[in-house]
């Protein structure tokens, strides 16, 4: 077996033991890596109903066969566990040097089990595994922790760490790396914190097994240069993803004031043009030649690395249009190790709930200084309010009552990314049927929707596009594991990825094989869901209720008086289920599961929920 190292490192923090395990070629070619590996391992090894913040949960770091190979954007890793935010499978990816080092240490994945007796740093150097004390940095933010680790081992090692958010079990705490990279929106940082695991440091020195290393090296090196040239020619990195803000504002898709409004006259103050002008540095992931991290100075003078989601949800969604203040909120989230999207939506929900009388409080939209204090309360779980904020918008809404759940901007507990879908039905569907909650990573169809269809349509063409994009983005890219940006933003050919895959593995896969993998992975994540929520219904795949509310429609602008129509959304959802071969509840049928090679998994899921 080439391409894969063929080994997984299993570490137990309770017993301070580790084991190097082998996996079969069948496992490799069925699940490939990344999300595929993580979903399969957690399905097999976690009993439904376990406490996601208990020692029985397992944290997975999973890579793919092209991970760590010099080629465009192969420096990502998938982190996964049962989510403390959503209550079922959760994952995310981040750029990190751990990717290359873990592969060179001889592993395609790391499984962390149990709970340490004291704050711990896991150190992996090839076959050596050490459990080192981390008391010195427990209670510190991610920047100080990162510096502490670099001081010990140098900047070249792979590092994953958490801040106070993860330590204090904030349900949307992330895992951080390389000072500017975050991953695991559904609380992967909290899972790490629950295990008293402050950091993972990896150093690997072995070659990665490949079928055709010379050809891969030549192609990968040339492609890195080509992607860089395409980026320079297009100017994409000048604004990176933040260019989207001005466009969303123009087409009435920007989140403003907890998604109550879709554009704002002051949005230009935080748009990509202003970020480019204020830029003090640019950062990116390993093996990336189209770097998207634009750093500006925040109000306190820190470098703060921004992208569109940060600016949209910590800026316009909170009615904060001072770029340095948005930078400050982003910096605090990064240092505490909090997901900027869930943090932004949770704060905006709190302000909205106060405005609507669902709770009493002193936070109003536009108050950046109070927002900073609230992030600190959440990260430290300080007081009743800090604990409420740390649990995310859905749990807050359930605590407040008064119908506030309607404007908690989340699906399945995960807060929505920065696209206001009041009148963007296809993107609303993409959030609704994202397998882990409202993540934009799985399918982003707004430009297709506006450019290639009519905005009013709830037709099958939109459901088909969501499925197509899920296969590409949430399926192939998350499993092989690679960043999607060269393809989506520069037009880099999708065909390149099976070529890389075949060069390293010696196999002969096509994109159709990747789509089959993607469908298998999505179906398995659905089985995770119904094992935890056996009474799942199609309503679970609905976006936030406020988007269906005529009273919430814009009163002026391009979509005045428009809102999502519930009966039509339900038809759109049915088109999606039909396209996927799922039943009326959105659950894969047994026949589909057998076609996907998931008979055993279907039998297991059927112990908890009905399959049709």
């Amino acid at each position: 077996m080439l391409g894969w190292t063929g080994h997984i490192l299993r570490v137990n923090l309770t017993t301070r033991t580790h084991e190097k395990e082998s996996f079969s070629e069948e496992f490799a070619t069925t699940w490939v890596g990344g999300r595929g590996f993580a979903a399969k391992i957690l399905f097999d090894e976690l009993a439904p109903g376990i406490d996601p913040l208990g020692p029985e949960n397992k944290l997975i770091v999973a890579l793919g066969p092209i991970s760590g190979i010099p080629a465009p954007n192969t420096g990502k890793a998938v982190v996964a566990a049962k989510s403390p935010l959503t209550g079922f499978y959760g994952d995310g990816n981040l750029g990190t040097r751990v990717t290359e080092h873990l592969r060179k240490a001889g592993y395609d994945a790391l499984i962390v089990e149990g709970k340490a007796a004291r704050p711990t740093m896991l150190y992996i150097e090839d076959d050596r595994v050490e459990f080192l004390p981390a008391d010195e940095v427990w209670g510190q933010g991610t920047f100080a922790t990162n510096d502490w680790i670099y001081g010990k081992y140098g900047k070249g090692v792979g590092v994953l760490n958490i801040g106070q958010g993860g330590e204090n079990l904030v349900r949307y705490a992330v895992i951080r790396s390389m000072e500017g990279r975050s991953g695991g929106r559904p609380g992967m940082g909290a899972v790490m914190g629950s295990k008293l695991l402050k950091a993972i440091v990896v150093k690997g020195t072995k070659p990665i097994p490949q079928a055709h290393p010379a050809t891969m090296k030549a192609m990968g090196t040339a492609d890195l240069k080509m992607v860089h040239k395409m980026d320079q020619d297009s100017g994409w990195s000048r604004q990176g993803t933040t260019g989207v803000l001005a466009w969303c504002n123009e087409v009435a898709g920007l989140p403003v004031q907890n998604f109550r409004k879709t554009s704002h006259a002051e949005s230009w103050k935080i748009d990509g043009e202003r970020l480019d002008a204020a830029r003090v540095a640019t950062y990116g992931c390993p093996t990336c030649t189209m770097r998207c991290g634009i750093a500006v100075l925040d109000k306190e003078g820190h470098e703060s690395e921004l992208d569109y989601e940060n600016v949209g949800l910590l800026g316009s969604n909170l009615n904060i249009f001072e770029l340095d203040q948005v930078g400050s909120l982003n910096y605090l989230c990064d240092d505490y190790g909090l997901d900027t999207m869930s943090a932004g939506c949770t704060l905006s929900f709190y302000a909205d709930a106060i405005e609507h009388g669902a709770t009493a409080g002193d936070f109003t939209f536009g108050d950046a200084e109070r927002a900073k204090q609230l992030l600190g309360l959440a990260a430290r779980r300080e007081g009743t309010l800090g604990n409420l904020l740390a649990d995310g918008s859905l749990r807050m809404a359930r605590a407040f009552g008064h119908g506030s759940e309607a404007y908690a901007m989340q699906v399945k507990g995960l807060e929505v990314a920065a696209y206001n879908c009041k009148f963007i039905p296809g993107m609303a569907l993409a959030f609704g049927v994202s397998p882990i909650g409202a993540h934009h990573r799985e399918a982003w169809i707004i430009t297709f929707e506006i450019n290639n269809t009519t905005r009013d349509s709830y037709g099958p063409e939109k459901a088909a596009k969501v499925i197509e994009l899920q296969r590409i983005r949430g399926g192939m890219f998350e499993s092989i594991v690679a960043c999607r940006f060269p393809w989506i933003e520069l037009g880099w050919s999708l065909e390149t990825y099976p070529k890389y895959f075949n060069l390293v593995t010696g196999l002969d896969w096509t994109l159709d094989d990747m789509w089959a993998l993607a469908d298998r992975v999505y179906a398995l994540i659905k089985l995770h869901y119904i094992r935890e929520f056996p009474n799942a219904t199609r309503k679970d795949d609905y976006p936030p209720a406020v988007w269906f509310d005529p009273g919430n429609a814009d009163t002026e602008g391009p979509i005045a008086d428009k809102y999502l129509e519930a009966d039509k959304y339900d038809q759109l959802l049915q088109h999606y289920y039909d396209g996927r071969g799922y039943d009326d509840r959105g659950i894969p049928t047994r026949a589909l599961l057998e076609t996907l090679g998931l008979s055993r998994e279907a039998d297991d899921a059927a112990r908890y929920a009905t399959l049709t």
Binding site: S234, G243, E250, I450, R455
Partner: protein
Amino acid sequence: MKVTVKVIGPLIYAAGFSEKQLTLGGPATAGELLARVNVGKNRPTIVTRNGRAVSPLDALEDGDRLVISPIYSGG
């Protein structure tokens, strides 16, 4: 007839402006207007008016605001 053109993202650097009001001598289509804005040859773009896509043959009206953007695919 006066129309406003808003340019998005990196297209700004090719066009040399981010927003500009243009005066047109008479009836014009979206395509004719686009020909006057340099956003780079053969570059895929999406052009919208009031939040909806317009085609090159669509007639412009006085006071229109046209938005020219790259085909973003999301963060």
